[in-house]
């Protein structure tokens, strides 16, 4: 029986987020809060491993109270238990302070029920770093396995896991001792529509909620903004490209004009054709 914990985050959907053109700030109200898409795959993989080997899937998040919704989404996918740490003390955390807070929560969860495996998404779509997963693994002193695209085997009795880690030009087959931490690629699975019983359970589900006072052995200087070595010094809108020439006329006229332009820049094509 495995105890798998998936670490997840609620994020603004950066695809639809709007910028305030006057202040160059993000209008967060314009973007719906969603479960980080990569994390959905992490939870799905945890659920599949539970189906394969038996056990329990817990999810853990750090965030403001509305992040309960992201936990409910995980319950829909098939997680058994949800934990949330929420406290002003956690606010403003960079990846180092985030991994510290989550580690303290994981230690508390593990006290109640030892953890065999932690699964994180590859990265979040708001932070785009992928640094929190390996950070947690280092703090817990367990091997971090990033870019996991397939879980070959988990063997709790013999204490090992075998996975495929995606590389730039292929993949590697790696064996690690248990417990360990995976951060997973999107391609590891497809998240199907949730079965109705899960959705019913999720609708009423209340996670375990802890504040900083509920965690043990916490060094508060390592939390939140105070515990973050990096600071955002400046934000600005990306440079607006100047824009090019819009060709005029019917499709055929435009294509003919483009052909003239390409003919002038023939050397661009030539290198390619020479090789082919």
């Amino acid at each position: 029986m495995l105890h798998i914990v998936a670490c997840i985050k609620q994020v603004p959907d950066t695809k639809v987020i709007k910028m305030n053109p006057k202040t160059n700030t993000m209008d967060r109200s314009s973007a719906p809060a969603i479960l980080n898409p990569y994390d959905a795959h992490a939870v799905e993989e945890a659920v599949r491993l539970k189906q394969r080997y038996g056990g329990t899937v817990s999810v853990l998040t750090m965030g403001p109270p509305p992040a309960v919704k992201a936990i409910r989404k995980c319950i829909e996918i098939g997680a058994d238990e949800g934990y949330m740490i929420t406290d002003r003390a956690f606010a403003g955390a960079d990846t180092l302070a985030t991994s510290y807070a989550l580690t303290k929560a994981l230690e508390k969860i593990a006290k109640q029920k030892p953890i065999d495996l932690i699964i994180c998404g590859k990265m979040t779509i708001d932070g785009d770093t992928g640094q929190v997963g390996p950070g947690i693994a280092r703090r817990l002193d367990i091997p971090p396995l990033t870019n996991v695209k397939k879980v070959v085997e988990i063997n709790k009795e013999k204490g090992y896991a075998i996975v495929h880690r995606k590389l730039e030009d292929g993949y590697e087959v790696v064996q690690s001792t248990l417990p360990c931490l995976f951060s997973v690629e999107k391609e590891i699975n497809e998240v199907p529509y949730s079965p109705l019983p899960n959705m019913l359970r999720a609708a009423r589900y209340q996670p375990v909620i802890w504040s900083v006072n509920d965690l043990e052995d916490v060094d508060r200087s390592l939390l939140g903004l105070k515990g973050s070595p990096t600071i955002v010094a400046k934000v600005w809108p990306p440079e607006k490209p100047k824009g090019g020439e819009k060709l005029q006329g019917s499709p055929r006229v435009q294509v003919n004009r483009l052909m003239e332009i390409l003919a002038e820049k023939k050397d661009l094509f030539r290198a390619k054709e020479g090789r082919a």
Partner: protein, 343 residues
Amino acid sequence: MNLEEYRGVWVFLEQQDGRIAPVSLELLGAGRKLADKRGVPLSGLLIGDQVRELATVAFQYGADVVYLYDDPIFHYYRTESYMRAVIACVQKHKPEILLYGATSTGKDLASAVATDLETGLTADTTMLDVDQETGLLEASRPAFGGNIMATILCKKHRPQMATVRPKVMKALPPDPNRTGQIVEERIPLREEEIRTKVLKIVRETSRRVRLDEADIIVAGGKGMGSKEGFQLIHRFAEAIGATVGASRDAVEAGWIDHQHQVGQTGVTVTPKIYFAIGISGAIQHLVGMQNSGLIIAINKDPDAPIFQACHYGLVGDAFEIVPLLIEALQAESDKEVQYGGKV
């Protein structure tokens, strides 16, 4: 922490199959500028198994010093072994800045090292500068899906670390006469202490999509309407010998595999010619292709932001324009073949 003790700019030299990764050479170019501005040496950190000769390459590309860990235990990249070497070397020689390529290996290693050293790490940096006096590294990166740029500082911890996107910085032209100093390092590390083992490496070079090395990319987006509609992108690419790219929308719709994705969460590309077809031009896409040599956009919405980011724009239905374009380009290349016959 006494920040004054930390001096010098370092680049982690990622290597594979007897080659230094291109991104590491790019970082030596970027690191050289930072080091010169600060008046400090530029060093490479080289870890591997029988990699000593690669130090020569690092010197030619701008390094003054190479710290070398050459041991069979480093034959495969593994977080735990490499991390131990990096940490030991940092603690011994105290660099002020340490840069890694934002590759799967570089990101994995940097995340682990930052946690153990309890220092700041900026991910996927696309701009680097340093304050000459304070020595503060100004690492800038797109954030929130590319909607804003943010400059990140690490004021009270050293080394200041960043992973840097491939293909953004420029390598210096190699100078064959340039040499430097190799500093050999060792750490007591036994195989039994490492909790992971690489059982096998599978290279998928034939299946691999080399978007980052393509000369011409034909990329399709949501405007292609469906998986069937996206076939037109494949047809066009095939006709002109181009590589297929895609926007995040097209990938998320399941029309094409993620490895074709260009943009913030995909690949950064710099082809000679980039065709953006049915791609509206969300910022997260633009950050991945805006440095292309010639950008040609085809979109039926004349107000699509992609027209602000292209060199030439064709307004109209891709399903009408692209077949005409394929026809015209094929007619042109037939002519070329005829001319070519005479030469």
